[in-house]
């Protein structure tokens, strides 16, 4: 493959559709508004716009050339401004092979080669045959012949294509994952945005009257409650099917040096993540999933395009029984130390946790209750906030091992993060005046993930513990070891992580 190649012509089409999909809300609003006026040549605008996009797509396809040599990919692109991209295999973080609907019709795939931090799909080949994508994938990960200055991990970087193990997601757990998916809130906000765009159009029509007549509503209050309930059900359905389609057919292949995550029903995606590119793993137990005994596992990669734009988070396993996490992680990532002792925040932090979570809610509740003379029942909110604060305190823990740091905390969901010390980009400990008075501190750790990094933090732990962790990161830089066992501290609350058994 030493000549420049063009993509499959379907790239022109998929680019056009990609543009449409990226601007769908704008286009819909435009068409909606246009359709209102009578002089608007609706058909011509639609056809003309589509033709224009096709021409743009075609030009893009024509001007896009790529060449793959051993360990180097060279892409020329751009219609007017020519862009030359050279990418060496040393810098590759994650390789994604995606097959969208259009690509699948023609038996093609999209290949994304992701480097650290780049938030755009810089090295993306939109339509090539699966064979060629796999060939490029292999070529880019082959052992380097000339070893210049490079990572130690890469020195013996030899791709073995035999899969050691494949783990898939059972249908039952897929359904549970979909129905308890946290993307519910996102779906709600998307609906809200779309609704706010088209609301003026709806309110002019008879839509509300129609809704009013079919919903079981005698009063206005009932009507709004029914409307909100309808929204929520709709959002839930959206997130249910979204998760189902995104994470259906999920499978995890474990290879010698890398893992391959495949997922998707309509749009199939295959991400290849080398083990030595994993920055951190974190396990999150959502508030609905936790009582059911389920959790999801994420991994952080420095690639700029994880599951969501801009973050490098990749869903490593969508839903798993808490009891099985340890055995799965032991198989996949044996070099992470998972069971270790951790320190809880001291008792005197509890009041800070509870104060923080209840203060605002209580003040607002009291005010609203006083001024608007509402039901006593609304005092349930401060009580919930109190419980929430207590849960947060209870779930916070900070632990460390020889080469690993564990931070456990809760926002809504409980999150346990495992971070190799050598992957920590920076570590901060901070103190507010009150924390200083109580000799407490907050610890925040940044790892590389996407273009902005991802932080994990615990609040209100002993200052001494924060300083110990800081000292360890310092020592890690010197490559010395320390042996400081937690057992020596007797009166401290030591818990065993991960506590999933």
């Amino acid at each position: 493959m030493s000549d420049f190649k063009r993509q499959h012509p379907v790239a022109a089409l998929s680019r056009a559709f990609g543009l449409i999909r990226g601007n769908i809300v704008t286009i819909l609003v435009f068409l909606f508004v246009g359709a209102q006026s009578e002089s608007f040549p609706f058909l011509w605008w639609t056809l003309g716009g589509f033709a224009f996009l096709l021409v743009v797509g075609f030009a893009n396809w024509w001007r896009f050339l790529y060449k793959v040599e051993d360990g180097l990919i060279h892409i020329k692109s751009g219609i007017f401004v020519r862009k030359n991209l050279y990418l060496t295999k040393d810098r590759i973080q994650v390789i994604d092979i995606t097959a969208g609907i259009i690509q699948r019709i023609f038996g093609l795939v999209q290949l994304d080669i992701q480097t650290a931090g780049a938030s755009s799909r810089a090295a993306s080949i939109e339509a090539i045959t699966r064979d060629r994508a796999e060939a490029i994938n292999r070529l880019l990960r082959r052992k380097r012949e000339d070893s210049g200055e490079e990572d130690i991990d890469d020195a013996e970087f030899e791709i073995e294509d035999d899969i050691k193990q494949t783990i898939s997601l059972p249908n039952k757990e897929l359904l549970i994952a979909a129905s308890t998916s946290g993307s519910f809130g996102i779906a709600l906000s998307v609906i809200g945005t779309v609704f706010s765009q088209i609301e003026p159009l709806i309110s002019e029509s008879q839509f509300y009257d129609y809704l009013y007549s079919i919903l079981p509503s005698q009063t206005d209050t009932m009507f709004y409650i029914a409307l909100i309930a309808g929204f929520i059900v709709f959002a839930w359905l959206l997130s249910f099917f979204g998760t189902l389609f995104n994470y259906g057919n999920f499978s995890l292949e474990i290879k010698e040096k890398e893992i391959v995550i495949s997922r998707g029903i309509f749009e199939k995606k295959r991400s290849t993540v080398p083990f030595n590119r994993i920055q951190a793993i974190h396990i999150s137990e959502g508030i609905i999933r936790q009582p059911l005994g389920y959790a999801s596992i994420h991994l952080e990669s420095a690639a700029g395009y994880g599951d969501d734009r801009g973050t490098g988070s990749i869903l490593f396993f969508p839903l798993i029984k808490r009891k099985r996490i340890l055995s799965l992680l032991d198989e996949v990532l044996p070099d992470y130390q998972k069971e270790l002792a951790a320190l809880k925040p001291p008792n005197r932090s509890l009041r800070r946790y509870i104060f923080r979570s209840t203060f605002l809610v209580t003040a607002i509740t009291a005010g609203v209750w006083w001024w608007f003379d509402l039901n006593v029942l609304m005092w349930i909110f401060p009580i919930l906030a109190f419980i929430w604060g207590w849960l947060k305190y209870n779930d916070t823990a900070l632990g460390w091992g020889d080469d690993i740091l564990v931070l456990r905390s809760r926002n809504l969901s409980k999150s346990t993060a495992y971070i190799k010390k050598k992957r920590i980009q920076d570590l901060s400990i901070s103190q507010s005046p009150f924390q200083r008075y109580r000799n407490l501190c907050s610890v925040q750790v940044y790892v590389a993930s996407g273009d902005r990094g991802k932080s994990f933090s615990v609040r209100d732990v002993e200052l001494e513990d924060g300083l110990t962790v800081l000292e360890q990161i310092r020592i890690e830089g010197v490559n010395a070891t320390i042996d400081e066992s937690l057992e020596s501290e007797t009166e401290r609350q030591v818990i065993q992580l991960p506590g999933w058994v």
Partner: protein, 159 residues
Amino acid sequence: MKEPSFHKLTPRAIRVWQWSNSIRSLFFFIFPVIYAAIFGLNGFNQWVVISLAVLVFIAWLLSIFLMPYLTWKNWRYAIDENEIDLKRGVIFKTRTLIPLSRVQHVDTRQGPLLRSYDLASVTISTAATTHEIPALDEVLADRVRQQISTYARLAEEDV
């Protein structure tokens, strides 16, 4: 474990911050102005506007005569062959440790204000975060930048 040797910023930083704060804090005068624009200046509202203006004026004075000094007093940095250690914060105190092997690049920057005092800031970027040592003598800033990049080159690099 021995504490690394911390350095202070140059005292000239205080001057720079006094100038920049004196302009930046002018922004807060917008609050009494907005209030006056909405509610007018008669009776009770007049006193609200005056007291708001007095409060903002006090804040403005503090941001010029007190905060730069306190910020300077609380800023410390230490750089050695293994890590960069930054301490800062007047009310909320933060200490950040950046292992040098994680440093991706270092810049020195100099706006017009810093230039007129022969100062420069040093910006340290890792794969995840960016930190700034806000005001160093420009010769020193160059040396610090050089020092960091030399040390960082020695350290083995892997995102």
